[in-house]
Symmetry: none
Subunit: 222 residues, 4 copies
DNA sequence: GATGAATGAGGTTTCATTCAT
DNA sequence: GATGAATGAAACCTCATTCAT
């Protein structure tokens, strides 16, 4: 039972507010004032807790990635007795669920790079904005950046060792392919907006099919 | 052999310039002035040809989609003698190539929806901006919007009829899945930036694998 | 039967168009392009005939004032046999009719000064814009500027001499007072827009009353 | 003795500044930056208090009309013991004084309608600009719009009842006629600029004559 | 003469960010 | 800690005017 400080409390409620606002309007269009309003405080107060708009965004991405990591750790924990294949499938399911439950998180994580570029100062497209470089969250992010990858890859390797996954391909390639499917699904799903179908296909049916496909891919070498 | 008018010529060179600028800085960060500079003319001249920034962007998306459509039409033309499966695979290859050759086009097409939303006025996220609604290109886009889908779906159906593709699933679902893979590949590839590998996987190898995977998916029911 | 040259013809049709446009949108908001469209030609052609927007406006004012002068000359001509009083009343009637038939002319003549000021360059409110000073019409205007005044004043004097108008006041003062009534009527009428009444008063009734009032004023010293 | 808040204070000083700037350059030509400078702050600060240029203008008109209303209420208060005629004359005097003391206010009030029209978007001259429709002051204005009219009309009626004003005409018509004289006087006076005479007539003399004329008009039926 | 094309010089408005209290 | 107020630095777009053909 960690005693959350008052400061931490405020930070969290700002993050909550920011998530909603960013999700509603997108990073670029969202105004810091709206974040303040949504959090029930003034714009200036938001700045007291987060030094910049980018920093705030990074904090959200960090939060998102942290949550995903937690979920993934939990998933492999639960699937330790199972073989690698099932564990990987479970991980993918986790990812699907995560991104469906927290669409904004997924978006944030995917836009991560885009935002970085979009903020970069005029002429030098390579250089990140100073605000970003100084962002604590940005630095922290780099540390946990690759955790999802390594978790999944590790489980794929376990699957290869216990024979539940074919070893025809590099585990990283299998991972990337599975991830690509999830990502593509999200992008397309996003286009669908609030609708439940896309080109006459029920989204739920499609999702199930994709998971089956991923599993099939892991078992049958191509 | 249509004789392109001077006006049309200028429009094209502005579009060329805009593509570069938007690609370098992203839609939001790009300044119309830069587009002018890149095209060797004044900002106001750009406005002479394209009434608004959004309109210009839509013209690019339109151009991108038109090109893709052309390529796809050419692909099915060339594969008429082949069975449906090969035609579909050819189409997917076409898409891969297209998006690798014109990364900015792909980005533009993917951002299409995002831009629409991001531009929507403050409060009512549903209503499109006036500038967008009045864009000729935006209206034209809606007409050619779904051509890629219908082309591929049509060829999948042909494959199902000639027996080269299994008919275990709705053709639309097969299409969406293939598309999702391409999209996911692009997104991840985009993250890689200029690098040629991702998590130790060579991008070219991965691409080949994905195409094989798509083919496999079309042949073997899951 | 003056043979109007081709040049003159075009100038006239531009003026016709400009009158409509300026009347519809007001001087500041009217765009030269609209004038061209309304006249069925390009914006550049308008500039071929009128060197600047202000010049064009001055040409309209000149036209308006010329017409008014003609009407007034005709009126005094017709009322030569009458006494001064009737002549003045006729002149006022002329003015009323004129401004009701050509509301835009009246407006133009009244805004004359306002426009001059509104165009004057930023800091020095006194200095007229160069474009204006070079306007042929502006110079011509100064010549016929005071004709209405002098005509009316002259007739008032005649009335004083023949005893039909009291000579209790300076003729100029009587003139100004009559003119003020007409002007006020116009301003208020303008506010009414398309409506035919103002504060429950029928505009026509009011006009008649005002004319009677003017006449009364000329006869009865106050 | 209401304690004016700091915000209100600033608003007032911006209005003061804006009045001067608008008066010097006219609404269209005035730049918001100048308003800021005149008020000793940045352009953006002006926008912090007034959401748009039009809104600012409407605030000035509102202020002007409010002041006029106050003065008129005071005038009738003071003339309660007097008969209607004297009260009306006092009201007219009030208006004359007001417009001479605050020429910019008068101009603003007179331009009120003009501005509305001049701001209306390009094609549809009927529709007001959004900025205007959303202006708080514009809405408030509509409420106090007609107060001067009703005050004067009410006093004219009183005069008719106590026999000091003839009842040959509708009170509204008498009011309109008096108002027209004042308006015409102002317009012509405005043309005179800083000069003290117009066509050899001393402005002060003329004013006195006009007031006498108005009084005469109220007493003697025409 | 006519006009499509080009542009210089602003103009209003927006917003992330910072101060002063 | 909190916040009303202030602002610098753009960004988009407009339009009278001029050129080049």
């Amino acid at each position: 039972m960690v005693k959350t400080s008052r400061r931490s409390n405020k930070e969290q409620s700002i993050l909550d507010a920011a998530e909603r606002v960013f999700h509603r309007h997108g990073f670029t269009n969202a105004k810091m004032e709206w974040v303040g309003e949504e959090a029930g405080m003034s714009k200036a107060s938001v700045y007291f807790y987060f030094e910049s708009k980018e920093n705030l965004y990074m904090a959200i991405v960090y939060r998102a990635l942290s949550l995903l990591n937690d979920l993934m750790y939990a998933a492999i924990q639960q699937n330790k007795p199972e073989n690698g294949l099932n564990s990987v499938v479970a991980l993918m399911n986790t990812y699907f669920d995560f991104s469906q439950k927290y669409p904004l998180y997924t978006e944030a994580m995917l836009d991560y790079t885009a935002v970085i570029r979009s903020t970069s100062a005029g002429n030098n497209e390579e250089k990140l904005s100073d605000a970003l470089k100084e962002s604590v969250y940005f630095m922290r992010l780099k540390d946990i950046h690759n955790i999802p990858v390594s978790i999944v890859v590790q489980e794929i390797k376990r699957g290869m060792e216990d024979g539940s996954i074919h070893d025809n391909r590099k585990p990283e390639m299998l991972y990337l392919s599975a991830w690509a499917m999830v990502l593509g699904y999200l992008k397309l799903t996003n286009l669908a907006g609030r609708k439940h179908s896309l080109h006459t296909v029920q989204l739920d049916d499609w999702k199930e099919y994709l998971i089956a496909l991923i599993k099939y891919t892991l078992v049958h070498p191509v």
